[in-house]
C-alpha cells in the first residue's frame, strides 16, 4: 500500500515538474519580461535594476528552481496586460468556474443516471430509442454550437434568459456566489445546460452499458429465480453494482468539465478562469497562461491520484502484485 501510493505520488510530482517546465519555457521563449513590464521612458539603469531584481541574470537552472518554488506557493508574478498579481486574478474568477462546473455536473447526473437506467431496463421501448438517438446527436454536437443555439432560442427569440455574464453576485466571506440572487440563477441556467449536455449524453451511455452488463450476470438471474420483485432486483442489486464503475469514471470526468468550461465561458462571456485563459492566449499574457497551465495540470494530477488510490482501496486484486 505504502509503496503503491509513494510511487503514484512520485509520478504525480514528475508530471507537475514537466508541466512546470513547459510553463517556464514559455517565459524563456516569449519576448523580454523587462520590456513587457516597462514603458518607453524607462531608463537603461532602471531596466538593469529591474532585470537584477527579477533574477534574470541568474542561470537558467536557478531561474527554473525559483519558478517552481514560487509556483508551489501560488506566486506567478504579475499579468503583463492587467498589471496585477496573477493569483489575485485567478482567485477572483475561481468561484465563477467552480459554481458553473458544479451545477452542470449535478444537472448531468440527475438527468443522465435515470435516463441511462431507463434505457437499459426498457431496451426496446420507443422512448429508449429516442433517448439513444438524442444522446448520439448530443455527443456529435460541438459544445459551442449548443450554446449558440440556446442563446438564439431562449435569449434572442424568446427573450426569457440572460445570455452573458453572471448577473448579480453576493460576496460570502471572500467567495462570490451568484446562487443567492434571482439574476444570478437566471444567468446560470443557459451556460450550465450547455456544459451539462455532453456530460449527460456520456453518462446515459455509460450507465446503460454498465447496467446491461450487470443485468446479464448470474446473480441477477438467481435473484429473479428466488422470486424477488423486479423492482428490488433492478434497483437493489443491479443499480447498486452498476454505480461503482460509474462513479469512478464520472470522477475522472470532473477534469473534462473544467476543460469544457473554457468553451462554455467563452460563448456566454462567463467571467471564469477559462475566459481568463482564452483572453491570455489572445494577448500573449504569459504569466496568466503559465498559471492556468499549472493549475489545470495540478487538478488532473490530483483527480487521477485520488481515483488510482480509490481503485486500490476498492479492488483487492490490485494489492496482490
Amino acid at each position: 500500500m505504502f509503496f503503491f501510493i509513494a510511487r503514484r505520488l512520485l509520478q504525480a510530482v514528475g508530471v507537475m515538474l514537466a508541466v512546470g517546465l513547459i510553463a517556464f519555457a514559455l517565459f524563456q521563449f516569449v519576448g523580454d519580461p523587462v520590456n513587457n513590464m516597462t514603458g518607453q521612458d524607462t531608463s537603461l539603469a532602471e531596466r538593469e535594476a529591474l532585470k537584477e531584481e527579477l533574477g534574470l541574470n541568474d542561470s537558467v537552472f536557478v531561474q527554473f528552481g525559483r519558478f517552481i518554488g514560487n509556483a508551489a506557493r501560488g506566486n506567478f508574478g504579475h499579468s503583463y496586460r492587467q498589471r496585477r498579481p496573477v493569483d489575485e486574478l485567478i482567485w477572483e474568477r475561481f468561484s465563477a468556474t467552480i459554481e458553473l462546473s458544479a451545477v452542470s455536473a449535478l444537472l448531468a447526473l440527475l438527468i443522465g443516471i435515470p435516463m441511462g437506467v431507463y434505457t437499459a431496463l426498457k431496451r426496446h421501448s420507443w422512448l429508449s430509442r429516442a433517448f439513444m438517438t438524442l444522446s448520439l446527436i448530443g455527443v456529435s454536437l460541438p459544445t459551442f454550437l449548443i450554446g449558440i443555439f440556446l442563446i438564439l432560442i431562449f435569449g434572442v427569440t424568446l427573450n426569457w434568459l440572460p445570455t452573458f455574464g453572471r448577473g448579480e453576485v453576493v460576496d460570502v466571506g471572500g467567495w462570490t456566489t451568484g446562487l443567492l440572487t434571482l439574476s444570478g440563477i437566471k444567468s446560470l441556467i443557459l451556460p450550465a445546460v450547455t456544459l451539462a449536455v455532453f456530460q449527460m449524453t456520456f453518462i446515459v451511455r455509460l450507465v446503460r452499458a454498465e447496467m446491461l452488463e450487470v443485468l446479464r450476470a448470474d446473480y441477477i438471474k438467481f435473484a429473479h429465480a428466488r422470486g424477488l420483485a423486479a423492482r428490488a432486483v433492478n434497483f437493489g442489486h443491479a443499480l447498486k453494482n452498476t454505480l461503482v464503475p460509474v462513479i469512478t469514471v464520472i470522477g475522472l470526468q470532473i477534469g473534462s468539465i473544467v476543460a469544457f468550461a473554457i468553451i462554455t465561458e467563452s460563448v456566454f462571456q462567463w467571467p471564469g478562469m477559462g475566459l481568463l485563459f482564452i483572453h491570455a492566449i489572445h494577448e500573449v499574457d504569459i504569466p496568466v497562461m503559465a498559471a492556468y497551465l499549472m493549475l489545470i495540470g495540478l487538478l488532473f494530477v490530483i483527480i487521477n491520484l485520488v481515483v488510482d488510490i480509490l481503485y486500490y482501496a476498492i479492488d483487492p486484486r490490485l494489492r496482490l502484485s
Partner: protein
C-alpha cells in the same frame, strides 16, 4: 472489386439506409469542398465581386432576401453559401491532415513500443497514459496556446492552419499508439514473424513489411472516428479565436464572425455554417460507428 461486392461489409452497407445516407452526405460534402471554386456561385475572397450594398441580406425565402444569395450575405456582403463551401474546405483539410499526422506518430510509436518492449515500451506507454488523462480538446488548446505564445505575433495568421494541424495531431496520437501496440504484441509472437526473424531480416523490414499490414485494420476505424472529432476541435478552436484567422475562414471561424450579429437578428450568418458543421460531423460519426461495428465480428 467482385470480392468487395460479395463481402459482408458491402451487404451490411446496402441494408442500412442511415449508413448509406451518411456515406452519400459525406461524399457530397467532400466533393463540394474539393471543388468549391467551381461549385460556389461567388468567390467570397475576391474583393471585386463583393459589394457592401449587399451586406446583411437575409436568406432567399425570407423577406428582403434575393434568389442570388441562397443563405443570405454576411456583414461584408459575402454570400454565406459560398463562404460555407470554402470554409468546409479548410475544416476538412485541417481535419484530414491532423488525423494523418496523429496516425503516423501513433502507428510508429505503437509499432516500436510493441515490437521492442522493455523500458522504451514502458516509457512511451506511460507518456500515453498521462496524456490520455487529459481531454484531447484541452491538449490541443494548450499546445495551440503555447505555440502561439512562442511564435512572433506577425506569424500567427500565416502559420495558423499549420499550428492547428500540429496541435490536433499531437493530441490524437495516443489512441492509435495504444491500439497498434496491442496488436503488435499479438503479432510479434506469431510464426510468420518468427520465420522472418530466423531468416535474418532486419527488424525495420519485419516491422514495416510484415507486421504493419496486419495491424492496420483497427487503425482505419479509429481514423474515421477521429476525423469527426478533429473537425469539431478545429471548429471549436477557431470559434474561440485561436484557430483559423478570418482572412480565410473555416466553418468555426464563420460561426465566430456570425456570433457578433446574433443579437441584431442576423441569425443566418451563424446558423447555416453551424448546420453545415453538424451535418458533416454527424455523417462522419455515423459512418465511423458503423465501420467499427461492421469490422468487429464479435458484435454481430
Amino acid at each position: 472489386m467482385a470480392r468487395f461486392l460479395d463481402s459482408d461489409l458491402w451487404w451490411d452497407f446496402k441494408h442500412s439506409p442511415l449508413v448509406m445516407t451518411s456515406a452519400a452526405i459525406t461524399a457530397l460534402m467532400f466533393l463540394v469542398a474539393l471543388f468549391a471554386p467551381q461549385v460556389a456561385p461567388y468567390d467570397p475572397f475576391d474583393m471585386a465581386s463583393i459589394d457592401l450594398l449587399d451586406a446583411l441580406r437575409p436568406p432567399a425565402w425570407a423577406e428582403g432576401g434575393s434568389v442570388a444569395y441562397l443563405f443570405g450575405t454576411d456583414d461584408q456582403g459575402r454570400d454565406v453559401f459560398s463562404t460555407i463551401l470554402y470554409g468546409s474546405r479548410i475544416s476538412l483539410l485541417v481535419g484530414f491532415l491532423s488525423v494523418i499526422m496523429a496516425m503516423l506518430i501513433g502507428v510508429l510509436v505503437g509499432l516500436i513500443a510493441g515490437y521492442k518492449g522493455g523500458w522504451l515500451d514502458a516509457v512511451l506507454m506511460r507518456i500515453a497514459d498521462i496524456q490520455l488523462s487529459f481531454p484531447a480538446i484541452l491538449v490541443a488548446l494548450l499546445i495551440d496556446g503555447v505555440v502561439r505564445g512562442i511564435l512572433p505575433r506577425g506569424a500567427h495568421e500565416e502559420l495558423a492552419v499549420l499550428v492547428l494541424i500540429v496541435a490536433i495531431g499531437l493530441s490524437f496520437w495516443v489512441q492509435f499508439a495504444r491500439t497498434v501496440r496491442g496488436s503488435t504484441l499479438v503479432e510479434r509472437t506469431k510464426e510468420y514473424v518468427l520465420a522472418a526473424q530466423v531468416t535474418g531480416l532486419p527488424d525495420t523490414l519485419i516491422v514495416f513489411r510484415h507486421i504493419l499490414p496486419n495491424v492496420m485494420g483497427p487503425v482505419l476505424v479509429i481514423a474515421t472516428i477521429q476525423l469527426a472529432l478533429a473537425i469539431i476541435i478545429e471548429a471549436t478552436l477557431s470559434f474561440l479565436g485561436v484557430g483559423v484567422p478570418p482572412t480565410s475562414p473555416s466553418l468555426g471561424t464563420l460561426i465566430r464572425i456570425g456570433n457578433d450579429y446574433l443579437f441584431s437578428g442576423e441569425w443566418w450568418i451563424t446558423v447555416f455554417p453551424g448546420l453545415a458543421l453538424i451535418v458533416l460531423v454527424l455523417a462522419v460519426n455515423f459512418l465511423g460507428d458503423w465501420l467499427r461495428d461492421a469490422l468487429n465480428p464479435k458484435l454481430r
